[in-house]
């Protein structure tokens, strides 16, 4: 099955390549295998993620989407196989890879004891950005009056918005987003979708999971279907 996906992606990437004439490969998996509890989630996965790609990793609950994304981000080690960033194994150039990566997982990583602004400023600095415009970014994600509220006193969706504000700043080549729309209201979802599209248009590459339908031009989104395997 992974082969089929692979082909689909190759095909669509080709399509994009024709458009942009230089579809550079950012990230590439080689023979990636992930085993959990003796169950093979995916096996010998060879996929290329290119400049300008938006890839939606899809599949039913428990298919292994989160597992794949964490491996791609270098947070978990695959059972077998390697991941290459700009043609080199990520484990051999971790720092360079991380400079070019933005990963937002299931959990927003927001500290409840800090204010929205302090949280965002810390996350920006941590990834090597200046933190001067945190306030403007918070306004972008609809937290205009909440810069000084402690994150612990904001709702589930507001907490996620703090973390998502990084999208408005980050120019990392690769974005990996695990269910970015969780707990976000309809208007918020739309804004994030636009941001994703914009990033891809500016030469980024976005890998995301979501169980909702993406509201983006269908020729821009490729799907990587992970089946549930027994």
């Amino acid at each position: 099955m992974p082969w089929e996906n692979n082909n689909t992606i190759e095909f669509i990437s080709l399509f994009i390549a024709l458009q942009s004439l230089s579809a550079q490969i950012y990230l590439e998996t080689k023979q990636l295998t992930c085993i959990k509890q003796d169950r093979i989630l995916f096996e010998d996965l060879n996929v290329q993620f290119r400049r300008g790609d938006i890839i939606q990793v899809a599949g039913p609950n428990g298919a292994g989407k989160t597992s794949l994304l964490r491996i791609l981000a270098g947070l978990a080690q695959p059972y077998e196989g390697t991941i290459e960033f700009d043609q080199n194994n990520i484990n051999e150039q971790l720092e360079l890879y991380r400079q070019n990566l933005l990963y937002l997982g299931h959990l927003p990583g927001v500290k409840s004891e800090l204010t929205a602004q302090e949280n965002l400023e810390f996350q920006l600095s941590l990834h090597g950005y200046g933190n001067s415009d945190a306030e403007a970014l918070l306004a972008d994600v609809g937290l205009l009056a909440f810069e000084q509220s402690l994150a612990g006193q904001l709702s589930a969706g507001q907490n996620r918005r703090i973390a998502l504000a990084q999208l408005w700043q980050s120019n990392a080549k690769v974005w990996i987003l695990d269910e970015p729309f969780t707990a976000i209201d309809a208007k918020g979802v739309e804004a994030i979708e636009q941001k994703i599209l914009e990033h891809a248009n500016n030469g980024g590459c976005v890998i995301l999971t979501t169980h909702q339908e993406l509201n983006l031009p269908s020729n821009r989104v490729s799907r990587l279907e992970l089946d549930y395997r027994f």
Binding site: H106, G109, S125, L126, Y129, N171, G204
Partner: protein
Amino acid sequence: MEQGNVLSYFNLFKLVLSRDLKIALRHRDDVLNPLLFFIIIITLFPLGIGPEPQTLAKIAPGIIWVSALLATLLSLDRMFKSDYQDGALEQLLLSPYPSFIWVLAKVIAHWILTGIPLIITAPVLAGMLNLPTESFLATFWTLLLGTPVLSFIGAIGAALTVGLKKGGVLLSLIILPLYIPVLIFATSAIDAASYGLPYGGQLAIIGALLVGALTLTPFAITSALKVSTN
């Protein structure tokens, strides 16, 4: 599209240190509680053992140090756990800087919040336990050199158990045996001081442990973190 390391290593260290201190001070109790715990354990002993001054004086060094050990132990859990639970640890692990820098910052923040208050109050408590005044200085020195060792070694255990639901007791089990050398040398130094004997030898050994811990443990801690977030 590259972003470059805007932060110097030292600035990253300061950033993480000040964040951790800020979070703890917001909670306020976090600073006072280990200290109060220390004081309460120490007062339990006269209650359990009886108030005879000679007996108390004899066992005072042991009690002070065992209490310091337990107070540190109980506060270890918070070093990485809350960051793990809200996803902040993932973000730290993905920052494009060598991990040992922020690990060092977090451990030192822990020491500032738990070790230093113990060091400051210990002489008062030593007085309450009838320890002769000659050994106050020794108590101070052993705590000054010894408590950072406790924080560093303890961080290994905290890192290993961070992903486990009920790491608390397992953590103690792993870490307490490793604390024993510090305990033995520290109490023997205080004992020696109370007989007016020199105790430079014991201090030197604790100092050596400190240097060893400072240089070796950050790597053990980092790899432990990577293992338990895998």
